[in-house]
Assembly symmetry: C2
Homo-oligomer: 467 residues x 2
């Protein structure tokens, strides 16, 4: 005969509804948020058992080295050049675009427009209609920027004459590239192909690029992540918000900007004054220099490439050239400009998610009031975004620290094992482009990376280690 105890203390594991029901009856419950690993996918559970078990210490060792590289590298801006002069393998009629490789027929509308604007700016076509014919006819080679040690933001496509930042990490020996940011407004990287968008590309090539080359040769190499770290302590996440780091850079370079020749100085000053996004591509190039060093480590479960082209979303693990690709996700938790909604939105796009791999963007959300505004409005919402990354990351940054979390470091090193085990994929704060009309940015929100490619990457790592 069993006897029920007079006083019971309840621990509920898993489904919260049982805890809720007891609480509703006034019973104290300790709830444990446990979920079935990998959502109950038995193949994934078996893979995880190997990757945490027999292969666990080898993977952890590789991850520690990846983390060290991501956290300790010092990427410096060493040159401002052009894509054709600086980027390996960039020449002829080639465009570097965001995301995984793609045929023009599959390219989404905003990126198509950006490609057309670049083709016109390069002088390969006289107008966007002719550019469309060239692109559709296969007369322009399309190359993922990521295949050329480069990263490009949003719906960017850059031609050979586009100015690029050249970033070098001395200890890692890596070089990376990113275009000079086009700024806000009527611009190709927001999916516009108007005359003004083309004109901005020409301004970058003819004025901003040469001016920045001159500024940098006079100012000397720039420690990008030193400024980024100051930016984080001043409310930047360095992805959605780059205001503080941009302003720091402008004051740093002010003496050199003042010495530019007359034909560059005024235009450059107006461009920088109106461009709070200027630092974005510098931070991206720095992040790419770190991930290029980190990806040389084999046998790691840490993600070193994450990028999207508006059609597909792809990731790569350190130590492997293999892409794991799935459809680009929609952007949720979004704020739209007046008159627009989810039905107008293109899927998630751009290489900027490289920032989320090095402790910036989402991992730095808790320090950013501006990002909080997009995540629900309170700093608690922003903290949750950072804590979500903490659950799937192997370490914390020693340079990016969050004042509202009493200077704790941002999470660094997204571990595909944890992603699949917990079913928590990286959340990327990003802009939203119109899917068809060519009006450019229509809002901003959060893209949740699709789980499928992470599960595939996990299986591929397992296969590599078993071999």
């Amino acid at each position: 005969m069993s006897v029920l105890p007079g006083q019971a203390k309840v621990v509920n594991i898993g489904l919260p509804m049982f805890a809720d029901a007891l609480r509703a009856q006034g019973v104290a419950v300790e709830h444990v948020d446990w979920r079935i690993p990998a959502g109950g996918d038995l193949t994934a559970v078996a893979t995880l058992s190997r990757l945490y078990g027999d292969h666990g210490s080898a993977v952890d060792g590789a991850n520690a080295e990846v983390l060290r590289r991501l956290d300790s590298g010092v990427p410096q801006l060493v040159e401002v050049s052009t894509a054709q002069q600086a980027v390996p393998g960039m020449g002829g009629r080639t465009l570097l675009h965001c995301g995984p490789a793609i045929d023009f027929g599959q390219v989404c509308d905003p990126l198509r427009r950006s490609m057309r604007a670049a083709v016109v700016a390069e002088g390969w076509a006289t107008d966007v209609e002719e550019a469309q014919r060239l692109l559709a006819g296969g007369d322009v080679a399309l190359e993922p920027a990521n295949h050329h040690q480069a990263v490009v933001p949003m719906a960017s496509a850059i031609g050979p004459t586009a100015p690029v930042f050249v970033v070098a990490d001395r200890e890692g020996g890596t070089r990376s590239y990113a275009p000079v940011n086009q700024g806000p407004g009527e611009v190709a990287w927001f999916g516009r192909d108007t005359d003004a968008a083309v004109e901005r590309l020409r301004f970058l090539r003819d004025v901003a690029g040469p001016a920045l080359t001159r500024v940098l040769s006079s100012a000397g190499p720039l420690d990008i992540l030193n400024l980024a770290a100051q930016g984080v302590s001043m409310g930047d996440d360095l992805h959605m918000r780059t205001q503080a780091a941009t302003n720091l850079l402008v004051r740093t370079w002010l003496p050199q900007l003042a010495e530019l020749p007359d034909q560059q100085r005024g235009g450059m000053a107006r461009f920088l004054s109106g461009n709070h996004l200027f630092f974005l591509t510098l931070a991206m190039a720095a992040a790419k220099a770190l991930t290029l060093w980190a990806e040389q480590v084999s046998g790691s479960s840490i993600i070193t490439t994450m990028s999207r082209n508006g059609t597909t979303f792809g990731i790569k693990l350190a130590g492997s050239p293999e892409w794991h690709i799935t459809a680009a996700p929609p952007i949720t938790d979004a704020l739209y400009y007046s008159g627009y909604g989810p039905e107008d939105a293109a899927p998630d796009i751009g290489d900027s998610a490289v920032l989320e791999l090095v402790g910036l963007g989402g991992p730095a959300a808790a320090g950013s009031p501006a990002v909080a505004a997009f995540l629900g409005g309170s700093m608690a919402d922003a903290r949750r975004a950072t804590e979500a990354f903490r659950q799937i990351c192997v370490g914390t940054s020693s340079r990016f620290t969050l004042p509202p979390l009493d200077f704790s470091g941002t999470p660094v090193g997204v571990d595909v094992r944890r992603v699949v085990e917990l079913g928590i994929t990286p959340q990327i704060t990003t802009g939203i482009l119109h899917s068809s009309s060519g009006v450019g940015q229509i809002g901003a929100g959060v893209a949740t990376a699709p789980l499928e490619c992470f599960t595939e990457a996990l299986a591929a790592l397992d296969a590599r280690l078993v071999r």
Copy 2:
């Protein structure tokens, strides 16, 4: 016969040691932090009874209007001129200095040096020895900046040719003035009278002033507190730390800076690039414009002037021209540069405490990682500084909001009743100057305003209301 209860719940009011003793025995205690009002000063208690009682609603009404003015005024930078052209009553051989009125014989060493540097820069003497003789002989009139609608930071003394910001609050109809900040380093406002310090004053007069006049006439009026509010959300307290607001201003003015003539542009760019303190005097002038409007309200218990000259510390209440003055306090909780300590420190100095009266400085500490470093190192230390102001202030700012406190406003409107009742005086984060050697700044820390002058101001208000 009395029976002790079997189970007691304890509330302890006042001295915490009783609560501590019970807690040490494992007894749950609710402690109430109650203190004897006004430290048991019966005269002050009687005064407070009248000012909270019979006169309470009149005082509260006046305070509401003062708070409205401090919180809603929109001070704009409308002109950059010289002291002699802009500041009423400024002419001849006159220096405007920080703090209450003072005879040269009583002036502390850093301010003496600053005065000598100004006398040489004005061309009234060829060297600092001659300047000393002129000052000691009474050949230079010394006037508190505050008597001329002006405020000057640290050990500042400015002559007629010094460039000043002219700030106007349209609704209040007030005008205020503050000198162009001299920047860090070997500078008179840090109590230095070297050739370099004099040279900096000449640079301000000959280059920076005319350049800023040109910049402003091209850029148009500047809403100072709009930038300051952005600065607060980026980690500035706008007193000890003005980095974010300075950088925002530099990017805002970049087009106009780029158009300066050759003989001004390079020098101005180097000056601004090396001066993270540039925004300080703009914020001070804006605060002064607000307090000048607020002080026109009679019968209020809110402080509208708080300033120090390194010898004395003085405050004024809204609605009265009367100063309440006591000895300048030492600076505590200080961090010193290597080789210096409290024995080297001059007392608290400067008009910058006007910032603490409008919701900046100490009231904004909770948002500033940089200020936290001086208050103990953690963000909790910074929060305590803000919360201390909240206890003595009548309201909160609607424009200065603190992200780490989930966007709550900074405390505004220091009420002398609460100061005396609680024995909590404003704490001012400030730099520390050497008391005698002329080496300038030797550290930074917190100055706690002396209670005595607040008690005197309370009595004076009571006397005015009873009359």
